[in-house]
Amino acid sequence: MINNMFKRYYWVLVLLSFTFGACEKVTDQAPVSEFTQESFWKNAESAASGTAAIYDRLQTAMGSGNSNVVVHGDARADLFTLGTGGLTQASLLAVVNNDLASSNDYAAWDDYYRTILQANLVLKYVPKISDPTLTAALRDRYIGEASFVRALCYFYIVRLWGNAPLFTQPVSSPTDNFKLPKTSKEVILDTIENDLNRALTRVPAITTDFSTRLRANVAGARSLLTDVYLWRGKNQQAADMASLVINDPQVKLATRFSDMFHPVATTNPFPDPIRNNQEFIFQVHFSNLQLDQLNEISRMFLVVSNSGNHRLAPSTKLQSSFETGDTRSISTWNGDQIVKFRGSSQTINPALRFHDNNIIVYRLADIILMRAEALAKINTAQSRADAVSEYNKVRNRAFVQPAGSPSVAVPATITAASTSDEIIDAILLERMRELTAEGKRWFDLVRNNKVMTTPGVNGVSGSNELLWPIADDEIRLYNDPSFQNPGYQ
């Protein structure tokens, strides 16, 4: 009977197998609108967009609310006090007072390491891509760019936290080791130099196309290498490397400071930022004309914003540091606001701003002054004279008045006869005036061991405090209190 039934109704089975066969793969779904780890690194386009993502991560590391060049590079020094919008921000107050704790919002290194992860992914996978349209030159360029940005992030990490985990490979599965022990800062700095030397032979030189200054380029890698050498006391190498940047035909000092930064003016208080001066060597790009490309830098300083009042205000020390005739003053601060970065105006209400300034990582004045510092530290008669001459290039430019205005004499300062220490002090003061809010001042003071002797720097009582604490979350996840930096345990 069963057999008979099977014969009569075999069509049922045929029907069933047909309908299920039609959608057999229902449980194998590949994403439509995104990639997976498996499916992504396949061709030239993935190499390009994987590399672009490194810069996107860098934008966050250098310009976001919890991690940015101002908080990490300037705010602990003597440039700022709290603005009215910062009074209620306990974490920012602690930064300005150098009263850091592991619970501080800005103690997280997350965004630097996210950038490093993306760079490591490019370094791991791009060499393996076998797509004929990915030329050797392009492949080299992406590897060079990843190397450069990785070096930049580790340079921040090593200066902010000292010894730290060194990831040169991405984790690729939950079973990988996530808890790398700390690597000594000297080893990290060696890795940074290696990365930069790899980058130097691979990244393009700056050309007349301004966008070359918005991604890794030869002069930018040399600038970073200058910075690293100077930090490590390799003064001769720093001076030599800086010279290569200074002699780059595409990099020139702006005629006037105001060619880069708008002075405060009553006629148009909110002009859009100047983005394309040839003094800029490497900038992280932002633009309100592109989606989600805003940063927090100008938000830190301006009363004009969607989120209320400014968080940081110029210190009286900064205000009074500018001499008469120094054109940088009016482009740097006004009242209780730092006005160097103002973002683009909104069409609907020009008083409101899109916070979209480019973040200047390196520009020529910085490199010139670094060269001057290196030369002053070499401390021969010739090098001191060269240092003063480099220093004067930047200083004299600051006193170039607007077209049509009467010229102002540059006040006398150091000469070739000054001592190395006098020259270094003058350079640091000049760097403060020149580079305020560009994330340099704190590192200048640390590099020259002047944090504890500089008036206006609050609350640093020992060398342990030159480093940041490691954020609570990380200590918790390592489940090891000794992972914390000394002095914060």
């Binding site: 229902v26 967009s49 672009a52 810069y55 997350d110 993306q118 992914l121 690729s172 790398l180």
Partner: protein, 1019 residues
Amino acid sequence: MNSNFIKILSICLLTLGISVGASAQTRIVKGKVIADGEGIMGVSVKLKGTTRGVTTILDGTYSLQVPESGGTLVFSFIGYATVEEPIKGRSVVNVVLRSDAKTLNEVVVVGYGSQKRRDVTGAVSSISGRAVENTPVASANALLQGRAAGVQVVQNSGAPGGGVSVRIRGNTSIGASNEPLYVIDGVPVKSEDNSGLNDASSGASASMNPLASINPNDIESMEILKDASSAAIYGARAANGVVLITTKRGKAGVPTISFNAYTGISNVIKRIPTLNARQYRDFLNEANQIANRAPETFTTDSLNPYFNGDVFWQDEIFNKAQTQNYDFSVRGGREGATYAFSTNYYDQEGVVLGTRYRRLTTRFNNDFKLSSKFSLGQSLFYARGDNNRTSTGESNRSTVYFALVKAPVFPIYAPDGSYIPKDNIDRNNPIAVADLAHQSAITNRFTGNVYGQFDFNKNLFMKTSVQLDLENLKEDQFFPNTIDQSENRRGSSQTTIDNDVILEHYFSYNRDLSTNGRVSFLLGASQQLNKQERTFLVGEGSPTNDITTLNAATLARSFGTFETNYGISSIFSRANLSLLDRYLFTFNARRDASSRFGANNKVAYFPSASFGWRVSSEPFMEGINFLSDLKFRVSAGAVGNQNGIGNYTAQGAYRLGFNYNGVPGIAPATNGLANADLSWERTKDFNLGLDVGILNNRISVVLDYYNKLTTDLLLQADVPRSSGFERVLRNVGSIRNRGVEFTITSTNINSKRFNWTTTANIASNRTEVVKLNDGETELGVAGLSYSLTRVGLPVGTFYGWQAEGIYARDADNVNQVKNSNGRVFKGGDVIFKDINGDNIINDLDRTIIGDPTPDFVGGFTNTFKYKAFALSVFNQFSVGNDIYNAVRKRQNDMGGGNNPTTAALDAWKKQGDVTSFPLLERGDPRVQNGRHSSRWVEDGSYFRFKNVSLTYNLPTSFLERFKMRSMSVYAQAYNLLTFTKYSGFDPEVNTYASPLGFGVDNGVFPQSRTYTFGLNLGL
């Protein structure tokens, strides 16, 4: 209509006719069927063992051809006990039907089939559609509230069409959904809120309810599958229980036409007393003075027309709102071809200004028997929902929240009649938000189930169905800068198309055994493919407030389309065996393969087994007549939850949008590491049950105990950030739920004129977190520092400092207890308990200060019938749950210049004052009296008259004159009375979707009281 179809149909009918005509000699039997003292129409009268049958007509009479030899007539009607009456030699057979909604032969819908109640061995609760019809709520799942033991229902807000949280036997998950699976007429439908424009900025979403699109009056019954034995057949989606909703279908007979209409008025009864303008000025001036802050111009310059208001914002934002509902249905058919058509229009204005929900639905359920072997049918449903929404919490679109905290000194309108925009302390004008901020959602939903059934013989059939659940949700927002001048007139538009296609086949074999037993087998397979497509646009910079569509925007902020899919392929089977009508066995098994699972764990198996022993059928029970039913049930099994895994999480997500300077960037998300081991959450369930029926089931009792252990909970495990990742989803946690449930149904009085029945249920559930991430004993929820999930405790307890009163004088702080910032607590400060005794109040002194999980929930319904009147009183309660009154904290924590409640009038002023409100110090900078503490935790227990309705059925004499079948008028009061100590608007409140943040009141759209008047008409 297709003429071939009619041909086939007529051939079939002809065939049937021939077979009837070919039988032996016949005679006519007549009679009348009486129920509740009257003849009743639509009763099915069948000759047992044949397909021959008729239904009674208007006056309850029938006439049927029967063989000369007689036979047995079977009288059945829904809601009444079936009667079998041997004809013997009679030509007139009259019967009386007894109303009995819970006879043991009642059919209970179970997964892929139905069972007789007497054979059920799992834990299944049933709610009849009749019990909940005409309830003035939009959503089907809100109707479950208080009706079934072990089902905790919280209407998250009183917003029309707003979200409902349903917990069947507690929280089984932390990271994934805790909502049950809803299956409507065999179609597993989506119940997730697909809104993409819930206000994420506030962390709180005024969630929408996709089940709002179902017309409650279409519901025939709802079955709740609570234990693994009954739910395991739904496998990897059944861990939170399954709700089966069955809609009404046609019955052979004359068409029954029904028309229902009701209209109602809702309002918010309660106001939270806050300061008036004069009191507020004194309050803020004092608070500023104590904090050494300059007085605010808006409290000193009372002549300024922008500061001289005296607005009680709650009165402005709440209004009386009207609800209207119209239903029309026709059901009927002939033997072999039945239909049910219904359409419904529902229009509910919200009690908060500017909110409204409108719904239009239509349903068509048809069943055709094409031949003795082959039948087919369909359930087609379309709904359109039109929702004007508001936000909750501290979002800039919130209305209720701002109506509570906004200072009364700011008027609504400027002297020129325009709305006053955002005030000096950054508070939007809630009236302007309600009137001007555009926030709409339009849902179009189509659900269809088309089936064909082939009967191989009387025992075996195969059913094949194709099912579709299509939801199209279009949402629009626009925020004009009249409300906030710093806004750039941002608008958003988003369309989500969520499409499920299911193909399902099963074989079902049922056979009565010779010795009073039954055996049945089920074997089937199904495949489901879900596709979700989203289109979104965000733009701003429009030159005008008058055009709210995005063509006016000058700047695109984001735009795109997105598609995501998942698929499930399943095989399921069940075997039921009933021996001697007293030994009952049920075995279920399901195999689910899901595209969401990791490559190493692609397939999941979910078995279950249960055993029932009907003691009352044992021979030794003979003679114990008062006990009409006694059954023990025991079941064990496994069910799963695949909801916590994103469609592609296991594969590791590389996302777009990491762009740089115009170059598109693609990168792994910070939680985007691939995890090939990812798998479902697994719940092992054990259930013990007892069913007792006394006095011919006049009293029936159901008792259940359960113990569920959920393992492999999906949790986002934090990883060291130096890896570049932040979180990885893993199957690590474990949670246990234990509880008891009790239901009693009793016909207290059943006389000819007066009938009184009671049904009551109560349940208690204990949830205990057993394990969290490796090495962790606590789990917080982002943005809610006062909610904590800790091992050994329930999910989402409240966490903070224990407040123990106010220091009356400085000297009362004998230990000179300090705040973490070194400031000593003084007179007028809150006494926070120094848990670790170090005389410093810091993070170490935080403790568990409340639990949002109730100790007991339940409900009871008393129905009284006297002559033509019926009174139904439905009470519902929740005992022992705490509420974190976050909005009262924001009112009274002295931050931001918010308007406090009138409790602030009793603030501490001078040494020696014994009071319950600390001193007024603006901004609370010194010792943080307003911190997250037990000050803001309140008892959320309540008892309420949820629904009281009085119905009058018009007499037969009246009906006959107008040729009507039935007509009744009724009045209803919904949320009539609530007894609670909770100080907020209503104790039934829930702001956050995450189970970790349950029971928080952060300015939620309150529940309202609704009076309705309605008319039911039957033709």
